[in-house]
């Protein structure tokens, strides 16, 4: 068991920036316009071919991805701080370490595609278009939150983003249903259904696999394997930890989830597969979370600090991208530092808003029970307390 875990950790650690195979210099400035990088080959299951092993990163995209990942990183760290200061209550599941997953997935799909994930959703909230401001204010339960303070950390939604789901594994059939709607409407859109290594053992995942394969639904089932489901290491929970093979009759690929380019290429590959009408595909992304399962979990009783430190120093996704860009003259250190400063300011402003915006008004407690209906009365804690409910 320890061997299996050690093997999994070493797989996460073995992603190192590759040497470029070509370089294009633009005469008028010091930066490369784009660079081709070799990326790790994905492990394949029931697939003859996989994603390409080299990809082009443009300077523009690189800066975009860097900024996005850094924003998510800093946003999560700010959430950690706000939680400890008791501005955020209840559950708070952070995704720092896993930034390449959500940013890479988004880079491989269209905004018109659909994404649904688990409660470790803050990164996806951002990549799917919610502002840091509206995310942090939702975490602090204020009226300026994206769900007006009524949802909290696990229940944030936006266009073509279906949350944020609190029940482990429930998002899998939901995602298959979204894919069914895409196929039904014939709009060439696909659904990305993201779940963790813990959820991968839920029965409803297999029910979703079965129906998605049976009906050839355009669904990418994505297992974000961060090696631990709460305090349980993968080897203690799964008879098979090859999550990309667990779809049995569904083809799968295992992806280095710490390398954003790997994630992007794998996503494009999987998206093409789905869009071609072949049915669902499974993607396992090998990744790592620095924080514990949630803010109530220090995260060091079931893994060593050495392990966490090792991943952080060798495979940090933000660092990997930064090194690639700087070493290949796609950007300068100063330029990236400027982005860091911008990001810090954005996060600080958002946190300021999130801690000063008022809570939602009590009069609105009864709103949004039903959609599209006339106003009605909702009962409060005793028969004399009544709230108005508006759709």
């Amino acid at each position: 068991m320890r061997k299996m875990l050690a093997a999994a950790v070493s797989r996460v650690l073995s992603g190192v920036p590759q040497k470029p195979t070509s370089r294009v210099l633009v005469a008028s400035c010091n930066y490369s316009k784009d660079v081709t990088f070799e990326i790790k080959k994905c492990d394949l299951y029931r697939l003859e071919e996989g994603p390409p092993v080299a990809t082009v990163l443009t300077r523009e995209d690189g800066l975009k991805y860097y900024k996005a990942m850094q924003t998510i990183r800093r946003m999560e760290l700010k959430a950690d701080q706000l939680y400890k200061q008791k501005f955020i209550r209840g559950f708070c599941h952070l995704c720092d370490g896993q930034e390449a997953c959500c940013v890479g997935l988004e880079a491989g799909i269209n905004p018109t595609d659909h994404v649904i994930t688990s409660y470790r959703a803050h990164g996806f909230c951002y990549t799917r278009g919610l502002s840091v401001r509206s995310i942090l204010a939702e975490l602090t339960g204020r009226r300026g939150g994206c769900a007006k303070g009524k949802g909290g950390s696990m229940h944030m939604y936006s266009k073509n983003f279906y949350g944020g789901n609190g029940i482990v594994g429930a998002q899998a059939p939901l995602g298959a249903g979204i894919a069914l709607a895409c196929k039904y409407k014939g709009n060439d859109e696909i659904a990305l259904t993201v779940y963790g290594d813990g959820a991968a053992n839920q029965g409803q995942i297999f029910e979703a696999y079965n129906m998605a394969a049976l009906w050839k639904l355009p669904c990418i089932f994505i297992c974000e394997n961060n090696l631990y489901a709460m305090g349980t290491a993968i080897g203690r929970a799964a008879a098979s930890t090859d999550y990309y093979k667990r779809g049995n009759f569904i083809p799968g690929l295992r992806v280095d989830g710490m390398d954003i380019l790997c994630v992007r290429e794998a996503t494009k590959f999987a998206a093409d597969y789905c869009r071609s009408g072949k049915g669902p595909i499974v993607m396992e992304m090998q990744t790592y979370r620095y924080h514990g399962h949630s803010m109530s979990d220090p995260g060091v009783s079931y893994r060593t600090r050495e392990e966490i430190h090792s991943v952080r120093s060798k495979s940090d996704p933000v660092m990997l991208l930064k090194d690639r860009m700087v070493n290949n003259k796609l950007a300068s250190i100063e330029e990236l530092k400027e982005i860091d400063v911008e990001v810090r300011k954005e996060i600080d402003d958002a946190a300021q808003f999130a801690t000063t915006d008022p809570e939602p008004p009590l009069e609105e407690i009864g709103h949004h029970i039903y959609s599209s209906g006339p106003p009605f009365e909702v009962r409060g804690a005793n028969p004399w307390i009544k709230f108005k409910s508006i759709s």
Binding site: H155, Y157, A181, Y184, G203, I369
Partner: protein, 341 residues
């Protein structure tokens, strides 16, 4: 309800509850191409209880979908499809099997509009037979009215006759919220006169409104689903003894039409509730609690009384099963006791 077409007068049809639901679904499938039906045996088998007979032949694989036996999976798929803009009808072969999927009904469907502060509606219908059947024993006989009726964000309807069934299924399908429709297997084959307006393609029964099936002055009798018929039988018997019962057909469990009940109790001064489900924490318990808390309490001349299923898992042997559900004699007895006769 739609205006009656004055041009064509058809004789009053006899329609079974089964055919009424079938008609309602057929009309809504035709009206809106986003509507589709999924569940076990709904397509090629014509429905386990033949409620969806003919629909697959008419609409095909895309709109009428046979699922594997995977309630949690297909209920979740239906909810996801509703979130993404379709209007699914998710059939549970019986609501007993909905327990496998209840997380998707409550946590994914019912609560989402609220959690998202109005961003994400879930226009879905969950339907199927609920409650006692005949001889199917404990695991296949539970009534879920109280369980689903408990949850904010859901609408729960419970038709009695053919007109109820058609009007409510159509309203449920057109409603942009998750609606649970609790049908009754023993009622599927029962015929009722279909009023003229029910023959219209726009015939809707509003969700949240009860119907007074029989006017009366001495006692208010409130029921839902099959027991409504038993109450009307009891009322007929009692009428010969000079006792006039006002029988209210709830039609909707949630949101409950307490106003109609209160107005009736304020007139009759007596209340008896009747349901097939277990007594504890049930529909009758809710009605009694609300009447106590409201203006009608002061009009009660006697405590309100509940007639319910027996507080046992449903037994198999006929004599035991018969005594596990409210019979007409039990309703009559309870009414007389309430009236102190």
């Amino acid at each position: 309800m739609a205006a009656v077409s004055g041009l064509v007068r058809r004789p009053l049809e006899q329609v079974t509850v089964r055919d009424a639901i079938n008609q309602g679904m057929d009309e809504e499938l035709e009206r809106d191409e986003k509507v589709f039906l999924l569940g076990e045996e709904v397509a090629q088998y014509d429905g386990a209880y033949k409620v969806s007979r003919g629909l697959w032949k008419k609409y095909g694989d895309k709109r009428i979908i046979d699922t594997p036996i995977s309630e949690m999976g297909f209920a979740g798929i239906a909810v996801g499809a509703a979130m993404a803009g379709l209007r699914p009808i998710c059939e549970f072969m019986t609501f007993n099997f909905s327990m496998q999927a209840i997380d998707q009904v409550i946590n994914s469907a019912a609560k989402t509009y609220y959690m998202s502060a109005g961003l994400q509606p879930v226009p879905i219908v969950f339907r199927g037979p609920n409650g006692a059947s005949a001889g199917v024993a404990a695991q296949h006989s539970q009534c879920f009215a109280a369980w689903y009726g408990h949850c904010p964000g859901l609408k729960v309807v419970s038709p009695w006759n053919a007109e109820d069934a058609k009007g409510l299924i159509k309203s449920a399908i057109r409603d942009n919220n998750p609606v649970v429709m609790l049908e009754n297997e023993l009622m599927y084959g029962v015929s009722f006169e279909f009023p003229l307006e029910a023959q219209s393609k726009d015939f809707l029964i509003p969700i949240g409104k009860a119907k007074i099936e029989r006017q009366g002055t001495h006692v208010t009798v409130v029921a839902h689903s099959r027991p409504v018929g038993h109450c009307l039988e009891a009322a007929t018997v009692l009428s010969k003894e000079g006792i006039e019962c006002e029988v209210i057909n709830l039609r909707t469990i949630r949101p409950m039409d307490i106003d109609t009940i209160e107005a009736s109790v304020m007139k009759t001064n007596h209340l008896v509730t009747v349901e097939g489900g277990w007594p504890q924490f049930g529909v009758g318990a809710e009605i009694c609690a609300r009447v106590m808390e409201g203006p009608a309490f002061n009009f009660l001349d006697a405590p309100a009384v509940r007639v319910t299923g027996a507080d046992v898992p449903m037994p198999y042997a006929k004599v035991l099963e018969d005594n596990s559900v409210p019979q007409v004699k039990d309703i009559i007895f309870a009414i007389k006791k309430t009236l102190n006769i």
